[in-house]
């Protein structure tokens, strides 16, 4: 009896305990990240007496001013929102077009060529996208449109290429999941292929396509280095799409190492990190809500 129990321990319970621990570890990591970032992020409100209202709605950011330091993050928040929405506006229609193409226009070309192409585009590291932006895109904008070249537009284009595969692959899955009956029923009613696609198939897949678009938006919002390299990092609201501006992730990458731990400036940066975290939760919430519909 004793030997049998021991065997069961080695052959079942030990393994089960280990993998359950791995599952719990994922939960613990998530909770720890929230606790640490939020705990550090609220210090600027509890210790450094910065008002939350000022941080969210004031455009004045002068943390190293000795007399009158200001900690308004509105420019960063606006920059992040504008650049990521711009990227989605460019990427989403193209991605949905690709998804339709892969499933209904030419599945062979889609499967053999387009899909691997998208997989490689996903694999290109973000610093390389940033580097390409600096070496190709920025000079083009500078020479043909004017200004310094480092601009909102450069950020939007780089980001749109980066999130294109994300949206395209989710949209493609969504469109593939629409039953073939829809197509045949539309054909039976005498519609052309394009009419069937736009009137029956894409509307049926809207919910899941939307999930892909929001995921793309979330990715664009959180992307740090590629955007920081091309957007110019000038502390201003962009007056046109070809003006340089600054984002939340950009200021975090550049300034966190320059500040002393515990100073109001440093605390304010941690609050920005907290805002970034909360916004990424917000995106998850939206995706969940879309999924429930």
């Amino acid at each position: 009896m004793k030997i049998r129990k021991k065997n069961y321990f080695a052959n079942e319970y030990l393994g089960r305990t280990l993998v359950t621990f791995c599952g719990i570890l994922m939960v613990l990591t998530t909770i720890l990240i929230i606790i640490f970032i939020v705990g550090k992020g609220i210090q600027s409100f509890t210790q450094s007496n910065i008002s939350l209202f000022e941080m969210l709605f004031s455009p004045n950011w002068s943390p190293n001013d000795a007399q009158n330091p200001r900690f308004g993050a509105l420019k960063f928040i606006t920059g992040s929102i504008v650049v990521s929405i711009g990227a989605v506006i460019i990427a989403a229609p193209i991605a949905i077009a690709l998804a339709i193409f892969m499933n209904y226009i030419s599945p062979i070309f889609g499967d053999k060529i387009l899909k691997p192409v998208l997989e490689i585009l996903v694999g290109i590291p973000s610093v390389v996208y940033g580097f390409l932006g600096v070496t190709i895109l920025v000079p083009i904008i500078r020479n043909h449109i004017g200004g310094v070249g480092f601009s909102l537009m450069a950020g939007i284009i780089v980001l749109s290429i980066m999130i294109l595969p994300t949206i395209a692959s989710i949209a493609s899955d969504a469109i593939r999941a629409v039953p073939k009956d829809y197509l045949e029923a539309s054909y039976g009613l005498g519609s052309t292929r394009w009419q069937a696609i736009t009137k029956a198939i894409v509307p049926a897949a809207t919910t899941n396509v939307l999930t892909g678009v929001v995921l793309g938006l979330a990715r664009a919002f959180g992307e740090a280095l590629a955007v920081q390299m091309v957007i110019g990092n000038t502390l201003q609201f962009p007056k046109s799409i070809f003006d340089p501006t600054v984002t939340l992730t950009g200021i975090l990458t550049m300034d966190m190492a320059n500040t002393m731990n515990g100073t109001p400036w440093n605390n304010a940066l941690w609050s920005l990190a907290m805002i970034l975290l909360l916004i990424s939760f917000f995106f998850i919430l939206i995706i969940r809500l879309i999924g429930k519909r």
């Binding site: 690709l98 996903v122 959180g222 280095l225």
Partner: protein, 303 residues
Amino acid sequence: MNARSIDKLWTFILYIISSLIVLLLIYLLWEIISNGWGFWDPNFLFGRPSNTQAGGGIGPQLFNSFYILVLTLAISIPLGLGSGIYLAEYAKPGKFLSFVRLCIETLASLPSIVVGLFGLLVFVTMTGWGYSLIGGSLAITILNLPSLTRVSETALLDVPKNIKEGSFGLGATKWQTIVKISIPTAIPQLITGIILSAGRIFGEAAALIYTAGLTTPILNSVAPINSQMNPFNIFRPAETLAVHIWKLNSEGIVPDAPEIAAKSAAVLIVMVLLFNLLARLIANFIHRRYTGSKRKVKVKEIM
């Protein structure tokens, strides 16, 4: 315009868009490779970087990238496979499971800079390690775990039920079945997923800036293991190749910084393409060995 011409027109437009995306990738790859032409020169790949003069190499950065890759995989494969097994085989549907899934979803969508800052708080400051290889590896492990978990879970769920039932019928426990039957059957998918994630680890930079640091000490392989100069000391700061590209671009003072960045980008891209190719080849090869069929395994895209 009648419906049929509209249909023809849009079909044509979609062909154009799709071809343009393919051309875009070819153009980007061409730009990277042609700008970084000559990146295979051993003096560049294995040479020491210079802070002031032109002609420096990327030897330490390349080594750091591979070392962090190995460390990260060594930590994240067991953990990812473990939680994949848990989700696929042991977890019972209910409140706790949906909470675990919510956490994984949350982890997967965290911006990598936020994970890097968490690493700065915990692996750099709290532990007192300073910027270190191990801190960097742990940070990317957090980034990498959700996708590895998903890969393991889907791979295990794809194992045919009848094979597992055969194993139970022979008196094996669930755990024995997982280790002896399910995992070996799922190996092609697992390896594919792991290699694809290796490509992402290799190119990650945002999470490493504040965890592994922006500098590398002068390395000397005969230094004692606890010295900052020993290349294998996991508690030394380490700038990886991807971070190096970023640093050259933002604060490079070497006269040939753009050239080094271009060549480093080419090296990075070639590595990522190799990982991608390797994943496909291994998946197909092992699948043929296991099944004897010519059917190809699809490289599942993991985001």
